[in-house]
Symmetry: C2
Subunit: 203 residues, 2 copies
C-alpha cells in the first residue's frame, strides 16, 4: 500500500526518535542513518551573512542530509528545528540546569519553533519545507516547575524548548498555534506530498 514496487529507498538522516516515530506511524518504510555534522561553522556563517532563522534551519537540515552520500536514487530526508525567543535562537539546552533557566525565561511568554525538513536525491533538485509555530507558555508555579524538572530529568536536554509537547510538555502551555507535527520537529503532510511526487509513496 505504502510503497509502489521499484520505488526509491528513503533514509532518515536524523537521530531524533520522535521524527522516526512520526514517519513510522504514518506507515512509511525507511531506514535511519543519522549524520554527525558540526553545526557551529554553519551557524557562524549564517550569522556573518545576516541570514534569517529560517535560512539557518534550512542550512542545518540540508547539511544533515548532505552528510550521506546516496549511491543510487535513495531519498535522503534531513530535518532540524530551533527555538526563537526575543530575537535569540536557542538550540537544545546542554544541561538540566540550563533547561531550568530556559523554562523560567519562557514562562508566561510566547516563543516560536522554526523547523525545516528537506530531501536530497541524486539527479533531482533539493526540496525544503520551512514551518513556524507559535507556543505560549502559561504562568506555571515554581512548585509545578520543580515537579516537572524532577520527573523529566535529563530528557529535558533532548529538545530545544526543554519540553516534549507530545508528552508532559503539554502541561506547560495554554495556547499553541500551528501544526502539531511541525511542533514535534517534522512537518509530515508536506513531506508525504513530496515523497508521493518523487514516486516513493503510492499516490
Amino acid at each position: 500500500m505504502i510503497r509502489p514496487p521499484c520505488t526509491p529507498k528513503i533514509i532518515l538522516a536524523s537521530a531524533s526518535a520522535i521524527r522516526a516515530e512520526i514517519m513510522r506511524n504514518a506507515g512509511i518504510t525507511f531506514s535511519v542513518n543519522p549524520t554527525n555534522i558540526d553545526e557551529e561553522p554553519i551557524k557562524k556563517k549564517c550569522l556573518q551573512k545576516g541570514r534569517t532563522t529560517a535560512q539557518l534551519v534550512e542550512e542545518l537540515a540540508l547539511a544533515k542530509a548532505s552528510g550521506l552520500r546516496p549511491s543510487g536514487k535513495e531519498i535522503i530526508v534531513g530535518a532540524d528545528q530551533v527555538l526563537e525567543f526575543n530575537g535569540k535562537v536557542f538550540d537544545k539546552p546542554s544541561s538540566v540546569q540550563e533547561a531550568r533557566t530556559r523554562l523560567i525565561e519562557l514562562r508566561g511568554q510566547e516563543h516560536r519553533l522554526i523547523g525545516a525538513v528537506c530531501i536530497l536525491q541524486k539527479g533531482a533538485n533539493p526540496w525544503c519545507h520551512i514551518s513556524t509555530t507559535k507556543l505560549r507558555m502559561r504562568q506555571f508555579s515554581d512548585e509545578f516547575l520543580r515537579g516537572y524538572i524532577e520527573v523529566e530529568g535529563e530528557a529535558l536536554t533532548s529538545c530545544v524548548g526543554a519540553y516534549k509537547f507530545e508528552g508532559r510538555g503539554a502541561l506547560l502551555f495554554d495556547r499553541v498555534e500551528g501544526d502539531f507535527f511541525s511542533i514535534l520537529g517534522l512537518s509530515l503532510l508536506p513531506l508525504l506530498s513530496e515523497l508521493r511526487r518523487r514516486g516513493a509513496l503510492t499516490t
Copy 2:
C-alpha cells in the same frame, strides 16, 4: 508534580484508547470507566429541536459523563466527536464496506470534525469545550485506497472518518486546520486548564 495532595480523582468516561493515551502522555493520573449510553434518543431529540451539530456533540459528551454517578468530588470527563460533511453528520462507520464508501465520498473534499469534552463534578457547574477542525482529503488513487483498506481493516470502523490521523490516516490528507488533539478526539489544552482550575492538577 502532576497531582497536588488531596485532589479530586479523575475518571474518564470513554472507551476510546486514543483519549486515554492523550491524557496518559500528558502525565495525568486517572481511571477509565466507559459508560454505555443509547445515543439514538439524544440524536433524535436534537434533530427534532433543530439543534446544531455542536449542541448535539455536547449533549452526547455530557450524556456519557452523566452515566457515572460520582460519590464524592470525583471529576468525570466525557467526550464525543462527530464528522460533518455537506450538511450531514456521520458517526463511526458500522462496517469496512461503509468505511470504504465514506472514504470515497470524502475524497478530494473538505470535512469538519466537531468534538466536545466535558467535566461533571458534584456541587459544581458542568464544563464543556467544543472544538471544530477542518480536514481536506487529497485526491488519492483507487490503488492507494485498496491498499489503505487492506492494511487498516476493521480498525476503520473505530473512527468517525475511517482514519486514525495519528497513524496511517495522515496519508489521506493534504491540508488540515485545527488542533491535533481535537482531531484525535480530545481537546487537551482546554481540558488541562479546567482540571487546574478545579484543583486536580498543580498550577
